[in-house]
């Protein structure tokens, strides 16, 4: 069992857990993920590392309530325990001195991009971060990201905070600028990562994305997580999660992410009804 030491609701429906998992913390590196199973009846779901502290023996995850598992996770309190917390899985983000790196974090992606920006800065890169959210009230970790970046650009879709733009707009301007970035790392909703990759492609700037397909084991045993990159089938849990965004077959990823939409709806409704929070749809 893995105890939740700190639980914080960062913004509505997005939670931060600091979990006691010394063995995972000891080996964690930016870009890796854990597989979490809440209890006997739970699913195994992957969550990218947001932070860790090997001395303290803790790992921080940030997740958004979207389906049954994340809602069930969100209902846990600090002091509660999670049955399984397996990792660190996947390959760490490749870090070296590239020069200037743009780190783009969209929505929930701000959490996993932060340790990557931190690592890249430690390697001596100039890190320009772009963080975007739909609206001001969904924005979190601005200071955390600012601290590990040389520059920070903030956008909201509706203009309630920072610049009114999608993250791809400032990204494009940086690409058009006098000093073209040497690398872009983008983490966020798949659609955002796709458009970041599409934005950088004409400029020939390598763009790393962190893919989030459906997974089961997270150790290369099932192939649920397969994607096509450069025309070759890869298992995200062992060959990734980082891939060259220009090579990813995005439509395949989107389609495979939708396999269980009906089941997810049914499962969430059942869970909410059991907690008497279901809406009239079910009646």
């Amino acid at each position: 069992m893995y105890k939740i030491l700190v639980r914080e609701e960062l913004v509505p429906h997005i939670h931060l857990f600091k979990v006691a998992a010394p063995e995972v913390a000891a080996r964690a590196q930016a870009g890796q993920f854990v597989v979490v199973r809440i209890d006997e009846k739970g699913e195994r779901i992957p969550l990218t590392l947001a932070d860790w502290d090997s001395k303290e023996g803790t790992v921080t995850i940030v997740f958004m309530e979207v389906g049954t598992t994340s809602y069930r996770l969100g209902a846990l309190k600090s002091g509660d325990s999670i049955a399984n917390f397996i990792g660190p899985l996947g390959l760490p983000t490749h870090m070296e001195k590239f020069g200037t790196v743009v780190c783009v974090g969209g929505g929930l992606g701000v959490a996993p991009i932060a340790p990557i920006a931190r690592g890249l800065k430690q390697k001596g890169n100039k890190v320009i971060s772009i963080m975007g959210a739909r609206s001001k009230n969904l924005m979190f970790w601005e200071n955390e990201l600012r601290r590990v970046s040389d520059e920070l650009i903030v956008t909201t879709d509706d203009g309630t905070y920072g610049r009114k733009a999608l993250v791809t707009e400032p990204l494009k301007e940086l690409l058009q600028g006098t000093k073209k970035p040497d690398l872009v790392v983008a983490i966020g909703p798949s659609i955002m990562m796709k458009f970041c990759a599409k934005t950088t492609e004409p400029f020939g700037v390598k763009t790393i994305v962190s893919l989030n397909p459906i997974m089961v084991d997270g150790t290369g045993m099932c192939g649920a997580c397969r994607v096509s990159v450069g025309g070759v089938t890869r298992f995200v849990c062992v060959d990734g999660p980082d891939f060259d965004g220009h090579q990813v077959d995005w439509d395949l990823l989107f389609a495979r992410q939708r396999i269980y939409l009906d089941e997810e709806k049914r499962s969430l409704q059942q869970w909410q009804c059991a907690r008497q929070t279901c809406t009239e749809v079910q009646k």
Binding site: E23, R44, A83, N84, T219, G223, A224, R256, R258, I259
Partner: protein
């Protein structure tokens, strides 16, 4: 002596129609009376050829004698002396090619039903647990052994070493112990309670279980050897699914057997939404392959409500590697077979869902390396099968994680680890391996045999 009876007692089973809709065990097990009648057929021949046919050398005539005399605790003791997992072996071992094949009555077409008797004795123990008494623990040797993987190979090696007083820890990547027994083989063939009972027995010998521990990620073999373990046994199986590498294989609705079975068995998707993990079930399901894995996947799909399930196999029925009994069970339940058929590509719709499978007809040519006749494409024979779900059950190879994170292991082009067959020793000092990681997908009992042989030489090494 009385005349030898050739009436092998049949296994009582659930009715095919009823069982094709539930996940309860298909084979119901003998009653005590049936078991004793069957046991009485054993002529207790002095040659004990049956024991020679058993990879873990169970004293078969010995436990059968105790059973027939009604001395059940003794039967349990004799059986468990050599086999820590009898409830599992009694259910899934291919006795027909091992002990029962060597039974002198096999020539008369009625070998003793050794597997069924083994199962009966194991189940009796579970039902009467206290009767046999607790295990006595040997004096500790102070030596530590790390076992990687909790499948039958790892469990057997762990049990043997613990019985000798060594301190044993099993590291397992998944959230439960048992390996394929938990994630692959379905409940209706091998109830998970039985597996967990036998895992508990191994734990009761003093073996520690470290679950959620992916070796190669959380720590490495070299670190284990450096830090505190004198020997390591690799029993990590063959967990990497093979695909056909044909167009359309990434369409929605095309599963590897590993994924399909893991969802259904390990994650209990057959009880969705009570359990959170879902699985898709089509109306027209094709399962590709001819082994036990294909049979299991097909029978799961049928139980979960598919209208038609076809097993598509590129050779003919005679070459199918699956156990005869399971093929018969599948047929009775209504699984259909398309032999001499091989997929060419999968067809999909706008939403990326699989809608069809274009196949070749095949003929059989000369025997290949496996001794089976090689399937050859019949030119121009392409036809399309209507399907909305496909399970690819072509076999598995070892996951490269261990080999790629361990210095100095020798592997073959199939990714299997090279060992000395008699001892399980790898070329790396202090490291042994056995089971599917060495042989590629094989059987529960061969994995157990390998675990046993390795334990023997590990023990000698620890003494030296």
């Amino acid at each position: 002596m009385a005349k030898v009876s050739l009436n092998r007692i049949p296994m009582p089973r659930q009715d095919p129609l009823a069982r094709s809709k539930n996940f309860n065990e298909v084979a119901l097990g003998y009653t005590l009376e049936q078991a004793q009648v069957e046991a009485a057929r054993c002529i207790q021949c002095p040659k004990r050829t049956c024991t020679e046919g058993c990879p873990v050398e169970v004293d078969i005539p010995g436990f059968i004698k105790a059973l027939r005399e009604g001395n059940m605790p003794e039967a349990v003791k004799v059986l468990k002396d050599k086999n820590a997992l009898p409830g599992i072996c009694g259910r899934v071992c291919p006795q027909e090619t091992q002990c029962e094949l060597k039974c002198v009555l096999d020539k008369k077409g009625a070998p003793i039903a050794i597997g069924r008797l083994e199962r009966f004795v194991a189940d009796w123990e579970v039902a009467n647990l206290k009767a046999v008494g607790a295990v006595t623990k040997p004096a500790p040797t102070g030596k530590k052994v790390a076992i990687i993987g909790s499948g039958p190979a790892g469990l057997t090696a762990a049990a043997d070493l613990a019985k000798m007083g060594h301190s044993v820890t099993i590291f397992e990547a998944l959230h439960v112990a048992g390996g394929v027994l938990m994630y692959g083989i379905p409940e209706f063939r091998l109830p998970k309670d039985i597996v967990q009972n036998e895992v508990q027995y191994v734990a009761s010998l003093g073996v520690k279980l470290a679950l959620d521990s992916v070796i190669g990620k959380i720590t490495t073999i070299d670190e284990l050897l450096k830090d505190s373990y004198q020997a390591v046994f690799l029993g990590t199986g063959a967990g990497l699914p093979m695909f056909l590498n044909i167009p359309g294989e990434n369409l929605n609705g095309v599963y590897s057997a590993n994924e399909f079975l893991t969802r259904v068995n390990l994650m209990k998707a057959y009880r969705f939404p009570e359990y959170d993990t879902p699985v898709k079930i089509g109306k027209k399901v094709a399962v590709i392959g001819g082994g036990n894995v294909a049979m299991d996947a097909a029978r799961c799909a049928l139980r979960l409500g598919a209208d038609v399930v076809n097993i598509v196999y590129r050779r003919s029925e005679a070459e199918m590697p699956a156990r005869r009994e399971e093929v018969e069970n599948a047929k009775e339940e209504g699984i259909q077979f398309k032999f001499l058929t091989n997929p060419k590509r999968f067809l999909g719709n706008q939403q990326n869902w699989v809608t069809g499978m274009e196949c070749f007809e095949m003929t059989l040519g000369e025997p290949d390396a496996s001794g089976r006749r090689r399937p050859v494409v019949k030119p121009g024979s392409e036809f399309v099968m209507d399907v909305d779900e496909v399970v690819v059950a072509l076999g598995t190879t070892p996951n490269p994680l261990i080999a790629s994170t361990t210095k100095g292991l020798e592997t073959t082009s199939h990714g299997t680890v090279v060992t000395d067959e008699a001892t399980g020793k790898t070329v790396k000092p202090g490291v042994w391996a056995g089971g599917d990681i060495v042989t590629g997908s094989a059987t529960v009992i061969s994995a157990m045999g390998a675990g046993r042989r390795a334990a023997k030489t590990i023990a000698e090494f620890l003494k030296g």
